[in-house]
């Protein structure tokens, strides 16, 4: 009788131990400890482009039996210059800053960068995860983000249900977000010409200053065998409102020379503000496989993405955790991203030709290949503590679209981008 009771106890303990297996997060801390992960990300595109410093604190805790909270505090500080959307020209080019109060000039044959780009963002994200019954869990999530010209608020819930001796988990998630824009100099009328700084002519303004997004996800996670786990998700995201980049412009070219047009009204510069559709429907299919070798772990994922702006992409991502012994590890990372261009992506608009319905020269909406390689090193430094460092290099190459005219053929219309990513992390319990 005593033996039977003990056997039942072991079985229930084993079942309990496997309860959290299929959750995306793992909880190691005891009920009384906060599981703290602190990181600092340094991202730089070189001396002339954007640099970012982003400290993050992530704190998780089991606040009651099988009930967890996860809080993340994020601070972003961005500096540097970012492409304004105009393309390089053999002539020097003068632009008005977003505030409309001053101007900056870019020399011949150089990619126009707006070097007034500064931003600070503070963000708080939270998750509350608990069991509804023996096989079903719910995760409530919320986030708040604030920067100089942008505010975002989101809330969501994800339900997960275990089946098949907890070898299968079905997931359904729903989230809403509401964003409000307050761009420097307020919102410029799409396709309105850029007005010369300091002139008497006012810059045309106006437009919706908000956007809403609804995300829906269904997922299936499956234990394949003792060492392999797979996940398959489908997500859809519907955004509506102001989806244009308020700071991006396009060059208006002379149809014969390809140079910025000189056929201008008083106080106008040869650039117009971009215009994107006011709705976007995004879809993604995501697959991930995690496999344990004798000591090491392979984590491979693939995503196919498509939307109604004409963008589609393939993303392949591989992490290999190589155990060095004693808890130390090396983790190489490789990522390949292939993207097709949005239907309305173009390098310029042509003086004298009808304007398209939508147009953007934002290189992020163009055809691109992005590769990332990186290496992470982690080392335990004490009881349940770990230091880690990650170094990655990202390279993005873009393709030109359409027919280039005159001077455009002599310019590098889509210069490649290189970025260095550095991350330092410290994990401990408190």
């Amino acid at each position: 009788m005593q033996l039977k009771s003990r056997k039942k106890s072991i079985k229930s303990q084993l079942a309990l131990a496997s309860c959290s297996l299929l959750q995306a997060t793992s909880q190691q801390a005891s009920a009384s400890d906060w599981d703290i992960q602190t990181d600092v990300l340094l991202y730089t595109e070189g001396t002339e482009r954007v640099s970012l410093m982003e400290p993050v604190i992530n704190a998780s805790k089991e606040i009651a039996d099988d009930e967890f909270v996860d809080i993340k505090l994020v601070y972003d500080a961005l500096t540097g210059a970012t492409p304004n959307g105009a393309h390089a020209s053999s002539q020097a080019q003068t632009f008005t800053t977003p505030s409309g109060n001053s101007a900056y000039t870019i020399g011949p044959n150089k990619l126009p960068l707006n070097d007034t780009f500064r931003d600070i963002r503070v963000s708080v994200l939270g998750d509350w995860n608990y069991a509804l019954n023996r096989l079903t869990r719910i995760n409530w999530s919320g986030s708040l983000s604030s920067e100089i010209d942008y505010k975002s608020l989101s809330a969501g819930a994800t339900l997960s249900h275990d089946l098949n001796q907890r070898n299968t988990t079905l997931t359904a998630g729903l989230a809403f977000s509401s964003d409000r824009l307050d761009p420097i100099g307020s919102i410029n009328t799409p396709f309105a010409p850029m007005i010369r700084a300091g002139s008497a002519t006012p810059q045309p303004k106006g437009g919706t200053e908000s956007k809403t997004t609804t995300d829906l996800l269904i997922g299936w996670t499956q234990v394949i065998n003792r060492t392999t786990l797979m996940q398959l998700n489908y997500s859809i995201s519907q955004a509506s409102g102001y989806l244009t980049d308020p700071y991006k412009i396009l060059t208006v070219i002379d149809p014969a020379t390809g140079l910025p047009t000189s056929n201008l009204n008083a106080d106008e510069l040869p650039y117009v503000y971009e215009k994107r559709p006011d709705s976007r429907s995004k879809n993604a299919i995501f697959w991930r496989g995690v496999h344990h070798l004798s000591e090491d772990v392979v984590n491979l994922s693939y995503r196919y993405y498509w939307d109604d702006w004409g963008v589609s992409s393939h993303t392949l991502d591989l992490h290999y955790r190589y155990e060095l012994g004693g808890g130390s590890y090396l983790q190489p990372h490789a990522r390949l991203y292939l993207q097709s261009a949005a239907d309305f992506y173009r390098h310029s608009v042509t003086d004298g030709s009808p304007l398209p319905d939508y147009a953007s020269a934002d290189y992020r909406l163009g055809e691109m290949t992005s590769t990332t390689i990186g290496l992470k090193y982690g080392k335990p430094t004490g009881h349940n503590q770990e230091l880690s460092m990650r170094v990655e290099l990202m390279q993005q190459n873009y393709s030109t679209v359409g027919t280039l005219v005159g001077d455009q053929q002599n310019q590098d219309m889509t210069p490649a981008l290189q970025a260095l990513i550095l991350q330092l992390g410290y994990h401990f319990y408190w």
């Binding site: 084993l14 496997s18 297996l21 995306a24 997060t25 992960q37 990181d39 993050v56 992530n58 993340k72 994020v74 994200l125 999530s141 986030s143 010209d149 942008y150 975002s152 989101s154 809330a155 969501g156 994800t158 098949n164 001796q165 070898n167 998630g173 989230a175 995300d215 996800l217 299936w220 394949i224 065998n225 003792r226 060492t227 786990l229 797979m230 398959l232 859809i236 995004k282 879809n283 993604a284 299919i285 995501f286 697959w287 991930r288 995690v290 344990h292 772990v297 984590n299 995503r303 196919y304 993405y305 939307d307 702006w309 963008v311 992409s313 955790r321 991203y337 992020r364 992470k376 991350q423």
Partner: protein
């Protein structure tokens, strides 16, 4: 049609493995933190922020999250 083909291929990929349910007491390896679907949560969070800012694609791994004026 393309979507249907991709979904079908992925389902075949998952279900084609000969399947024997793994018992709770056989989940020692699967229970390791390194076997979590997202073992480095903060790394993934930061990567998503970077790629959200530099590329036109998002989604697939979860819902919601911090909005950002960076894209």
């Amino acid at each position: 049609m393309k979507t249907l083909t991709i979904v079908s291929l992925l389902i075949v990929l998952i279900t084609s493995c000969s399947y024997q349910p793994v018992k709770p007491w056989e989940k020692d390896i699967l229970a390791k933190p390194t076997m979590a679907l997202t073992p480095d949560k903060v790394d993934s969070f930061l990567d998503e922020h970077i790629y959200f800012s530099k590329e036109a694609s998002t989604g697939g791994q979860g819902v919601g999250g911090g909005g950002c004026g960076c894209n």
